[in-house]
């Protein structure tokens, strides 16, 4: 019962924040709405019992990626990024059919249980790896090297974003 209440609460918050993301015109507000939506989604994960996924959502998306968005917005001349009405409508009209198609496809696949694997391998993997312990052990034993490499990758991406987004003497308008 409590779970359901939490789910509906966080779900409605995330929908409201999502609407805020597409309707706000100031980029800073957009990022703040996005932050709200991401936090609400991590709440949904928690209420569904996927603690690890919720924690990862909080750590990776809310902390790291939202901060990156803000960093980038401060690095570029964001006053130029104000969306105008015409632009939005065009994007909406062109993108909507594709998104609708995606949902229809996901619905059909979900209903009919189509799978590209022979023995439903993906499903067994998700069943076995469903808890935090298994993922943690995998990440710090088998995938240790790749995991550590990712930290270097994030570092260089940050340096690159700062370097390439740096204000220069010349502007190219």
């Amino acid at each position: 019962m409590l779970n359901q209440i939490a789910f509906y609460l966080f779900g409605s918050i995330s929908i409201i924040c999502g609407l805020g993301v597409v309707s706000a015109s100031n980029p800073i507000y957009v990022v703040l709405w996005l932050l709200g939506a991401l936090i609400a989604i991590s709440g949904i994960f928690f209420s569904a019992g996927a603690e690890l996924l919720g924690a990862l959502q909080l750590m990776v998306y809310v902390v790291a990626i939202a901060v990156f968005y803000i960093l980038i917005i401060t690095a570029v001349p964001w006053r130029k990024l104000h969306k105008n009405e015409q632009h939005n409508r065009l994007i909406g009209v062109t993108v909507l059919p594709f998104i609708a198609l995606l949902y229809v496809e996901a619905f059909i696949v979900g209903i009919s249980g189509v799978s590209i694997t022979k023995n439903k391998i993906i499903e067994t993997i998700t069943k076995n790896y469903g808890n935090a312990e298994v993922i943690g052990i995998k990440l710090f034993s088998t995938y240790f090297w790749a995991f550590e490499l990712m930290s270097v990758l994030l570092l260089i991406s940050m340096i690159g974003a700062i370097l390439l987004g740096r204000k220069e003497e010349k502007t190219y308008d």
Binding site: T117, Y143, L153
Partner: protein, 464 residues
């Protein structure tokens, strides 16, 4: 564990350089330390490779062959850093350039030391993202930023292809490692091989996927072009070799797709290169043409053609890096634009640079005393051995076509009268001379004694 030392030294060195750069922002110091770090790692890797060390944990599969490739990657990186510091200083690029080179070589060396798609992807991404950054390093230069963005967008396409290919691969085989699997007429597996191949064809700039190449290579600082057009190729072709030995042969007739992409790339690159007025862009198209040769070499899994392709990639890296570095030394002159007319009578202004560039271009044509000839001959004989006459003949025709535009530049340098009001002076410092000479010696040495390199490749390549 010892087999990991080269990578650990490089990683620690990079972090050290990032911190050091805050306190002592000097190109000479950072450049020298970068050279030292990658040279030590390279020599260690070669030494461990000859001693036959291996390491098989954390999804890594380091054997003598991957240690050898690591060694070549690190040593080439150190040479390029050594000869490009003075260029970076004269162009006032960002200081970060030195360790982005090291990061690229670190990513590549991770990539060649695993057979697991997840680890390969992490190495590939580390290398690619560092490449996008290093292309856009010229200060106040619109073309450089545009090149970086173009490379970013199309390079991300390659990553997307790699991701979807891995998804199909795990779906078809339930493994993430590239091992010998038995699947019969599996559509998901065929799609996996196609997508993985497209991902790497995009990365090595083979023809239908080459659109980023001329712009990225032209916009980048010239020393960076020398780096990104050569060193990453060694890593990418090592992975293509892995795909060619385990994945491509399973699907019927898949080798024809590889070969046809190679043929298109070879003819497109070599023919469009004739239309270029800029020497830098011409060399970019030459690298598209070479991607064609290498893919043709991998179109049949024949020990001779495959091993000589790896040999060819390594010596091609030395020759092309040398040619681009000569261009970078010329570009230190402020009024230099790489237009063909600038090269008129270059030998009068700087006999050493003109001779060096001409020798590198002869090497790229594949004329006998140079190492590239051995690679071309090996690919041709390998194709003939496996009865791929169609590809073998097209390969020879493509190579002959390529000779023309290299010779055109040589004619401009030696046999054209100089432009009248031309009084630019070319400065050549000691580091440039040593760096270029090192590349020249390598191209000559491996041509006269190809067995030094070839024996190591043959010994280790098929016993991974």
């Amino acid at each position: 564990m010892k087999a990991l030392y080269p990578d650990i030294i490089t990683t620690v060195g990079i972090i050290f350089l990032i911190i050091l750069e805050l306190f002592l922002p000097s190109f000479d110091l950072i450049g020298f330390l970068g050279f030292l770090i990658s040279f030590i790692s390279g020599v260690l890797a070669i030494k461990y490779s000859l001693a036959g060390y291996r390491f098989n944990e954390w999804l890594l599969d380091i054997n003598a062959f991957s240690l050898f490739l690591k060694g070549v990657i690190y040593i080439l990186t150190s040479f390029v850093i050594f000869s490009s510091v003075s260029f970076f200083k004269s162009k006032k690029t960002f200081l970060e350039n030195v360790y982005t080179f090291l990061l690229i070589s670190l990513g590549l060396s991770i990539m060649v030391s695993s057979k697991n798609l997840a680890v390969i992807l992490s190495g590939l991404e580390l290398a690619s993202i560092s490449m996008y950054i290093s292309v856009g390093m010229l200060r106040d230069d619109y073309v450089s930023k545009e090149a970086s963005f173009k490379y970013l967008v199309l390079g991300s396409m390659a990553t997307a292809f790699f991701g979807i290919g891995s998804a199909f691969y795990i779906g078809a085989t339930s493994h993430l490692g590239i091992i010998s699997v038995s699947v019969n007429h599996n559509t998901a597996f065929a799609l996996a091989s196609l997508f993985l191949f497209i991902a790497f064809a995009l990365k090595v700039s083979a023809a239908p996927f080459h659109f980023w190449t001329p712009d990225a290579y032209e916009g980048a600082p010239t020393s960076t072009t020398a780096f990104i057009s050569t060193v990453p190729k060694i890593g990418f072709y090592a992975v293509i070799f892995l795909l060619a030995s385990y994945i491509f042969p399973i699907t019927n007739n898949f080798s024809y797709i590889v070969g046809i992409v190679g043929v298109i790339s070879m003819f497109w690159g070599n023919l469009v290169a004739y239309a270029q007025n800029s020497a830098k862009r011409m060399l970019a198209y030459s690298s598209i043409g070479h991607a064609g040769y290498f893919l043709i070499g991998f179109s049949r899994y024949n020990p001779l053609s495959v091993s000589s392709t790896i040999f060819y990639v390594i010596v091609y890296a030395f020759a092309t890096a040398g040619a681009f570095l000569v261009l970078s030394i010329l570009e230190k002159n402020q009024s230099w634009t790489h237009d063909m007319n600038n090269y008129k009578a270059l030998y009068k202004k700087s006999p050493f640079l003109a001779a060096a560039l001409a020798l590198f271009l002869f090497a790229l044509i594949g004329i006998p005393p140079f190492a590239t000839f051995v690679g071309k001959l090996g690919i041709f004989l390998g194709l003939v051995n496996s009865n791929a006459w169609f590809f073998a003949i097209l390969f020879v025709i493509g190579s002959v076509i390529a000779a023309g535009y290299y010779l055109k530049l040589i004619v401009y340098m030696f046999f054209k009268e100089p432009v009248a009001e031309d009084n630019m002076s070319l400065s050549l410092n000691l580091f440039d001379t040593i760096g270029i000479s090192a590349f020249l010696v390598a191209v000559f040495f491996f041509g006269i004694f190809p067995n030094v390199l070839f024996d190591i490749i043959l010994k280790d390549m098929f016993h991974g």
